[in-house]
């Protein structure tokens, strides 16, 4: 009985080993009998796959972001590993955000410091009680359209950038998720109101914002902002306002283009076009900043758009901090220009003396109406 059991056990074990051996043989990765053995010559790496290019070189190229070829419509898929993505992530989530946040904080502290030093800039000759028309309804409408939409865009955009670190820990993930989604959609659509406001303001004011000689004198005297009894002459807009105007126009236009490219991803190559245009006049931006040379891939375009949109937006936010400050608590009588549309005559004489002279000249009636007829 014991012998029969041992024999049966041995046969079963043998069959099991045979079966396992068969399975292993079937699943073997040994090359088929028709395979050609590659022989190593010199320092050649084994494993050639095509045209004598070693596999290691191929994978190294893929790791470096070299594009292959694909037959599907999405040509981006030709790049298996987009190495710039890691660089983009490190910049976008690293020092860039902290530096931009620091810049906004420094701007606010500097304005607070300036207010502490200078206080509100008063109308030194006192308010006259007479007013002079400064901005028409369409001018103010364009300004407020641009201003309100910019504030909405700034708040919603900063939430996209900093909300996860600042807002989410306070209100929690459950509320932050839908709120951030709503604000993102708001950002997308309010952008079109900003574009309209930008266009109206440009049309209304571009002629008044051409630099002239008076601007040099105004800048040399720092606009009289740092000392009392200093009122360098200025036309309808002084040099500081012209800087704000061109900053808003060029920055706003740049935000429109980069924002448009973010709304419709992978459809535009604005950076390639810009780099090529600048390169044609000898300005090699990619070389200066160590960026990829054009033509950029669609993914690179999106990454550059994202970073550029963020940088320009924060610079504009800082600029608008200063604009809001000087247009409100920083200067007596300044808000009336955009609030009511007219300003006190003494305020206008102190800050825009050339413009006041021009307005007065236009107000003078024709000489034949002013001539006093002699009594007969």
């Amino acid at each position: 009985m014991r012998v029969k059991f041992i024999s049966l056990f041995a046969v079963t074990l043998g069959l099991l080993f045979y079966y396992v051996g068969e399975v292993r043989a079937q699943s073997s990765v040994r090359p088929p009998s028709t395979a050609v053995e590659n022989k190593i010559k010199g320092n050649q790496v084994p494993g050639t796959i095509r045209n004598g290019i070693p596999k290691s070189d191929t994978w190294r190229s893929i790791r470096k972001g070299v594009a292959g070829s694909v037959s599907i419509p999405d040509k981006k898929a030709a790049v298996l590993i987009q190495s710039d993505g890691e660089k983009f992530r490190l910049i976008r989530s690293g020092p860039l955000l902290s530096n931009l946040a620091l810049l906004m904080a420094i701007t606010l502290v500097a304005l607070a410091g300036f207010y502490a030093y200078r206080g509100q800039i008063k109308v030194e000759s006192g308010l006259s009680g007479r007013t002079i028309k400064r901005f028409s309804t369409i001018e103010r409408m364009g300004h407020w359209l641009m201003a309100v939409s910019f504030i909405v865009l700034a708040i919603t955009g900063l939430n996209v950038t900093f909300g996860k670190e600042i807002i989410m820990p306070i209100i929690g993930k459950d509320l932050f998720g839908p709120l951030a989604g709503f604000l993102k959609h708001t950002h997308n659509y309010v952008a079109f109101s900003f574009m309209l406001g930008l266009a109206i303001s440009f049309i209304c004011w571009v002629a008044h914002n051409i630099p002239n000689k008076a601007d040099i004198n105004w800048i040399a005297k720092a606009g009289g902002l740092l000392s009392k009894n200093s009122h360098p002459p200025a036309d309808k807009f002084n040099a500081g306002q012209k800087l704000i105007f061109w900053g808003v126009m060029l920055g706003g236009l740049s935000l429109c283009f980069s924002g448009w490219a973010l709304l419709f991803p992978f459809e535009y190559s604005f950076f390639t076009s810009t780099f090529n245009a600048l390169s044609s006049i000898g300005i090699d931006v990619p070389a200066w900043f160590g960026l990829a040379k054009p033509p950029l891939t669609a993914i690179q375009e999106q990454q550059y758009n994202t970073i550029w949109h963020l940088i320009v937006a924060v610079l504009m936010v800082c600029m608008i901090f200063a604009h809001i400050y000087i247009g409100s608590i920083g200067m007596e009588g300044a808000f009336d220009a955009m609030g009511r549309g007219d300003v006190d005559e003494n305020w206008a004489k102190e800050h825009h003396s050339i413009w006041v002279e021009k307005v007065k000249e236009q107000e003078v009636p024709p000489p034949d109406e002013t001539q006093v007829q002699p009594a007969e």
Binding site: T137, I138, H143, L145, H185, Y189, S193
Partner: protein
């Protein structure tokens, strides 16, 4: 004040107008980007 109220009205009209007109454009763009990146079209 009148200019401010007009600007707010214009802002609302343009914003909701853009949302109404472009909502389809955004979704189409996003869908297309997703579709083209994940499948082969015959």
């Amino acid at each position: 004040m009148k200019a401010f109220i007009i600007s707010i009205l214009v802002l609302l009209i343009v914003t909701f107008g853009a949302a109404f007109i472009l909502k389809g454009a955004f979704s189409t763009s996003a869908d297309e980007a997703y579709r083209s990146s994940t499948s082969t079209r015959l």
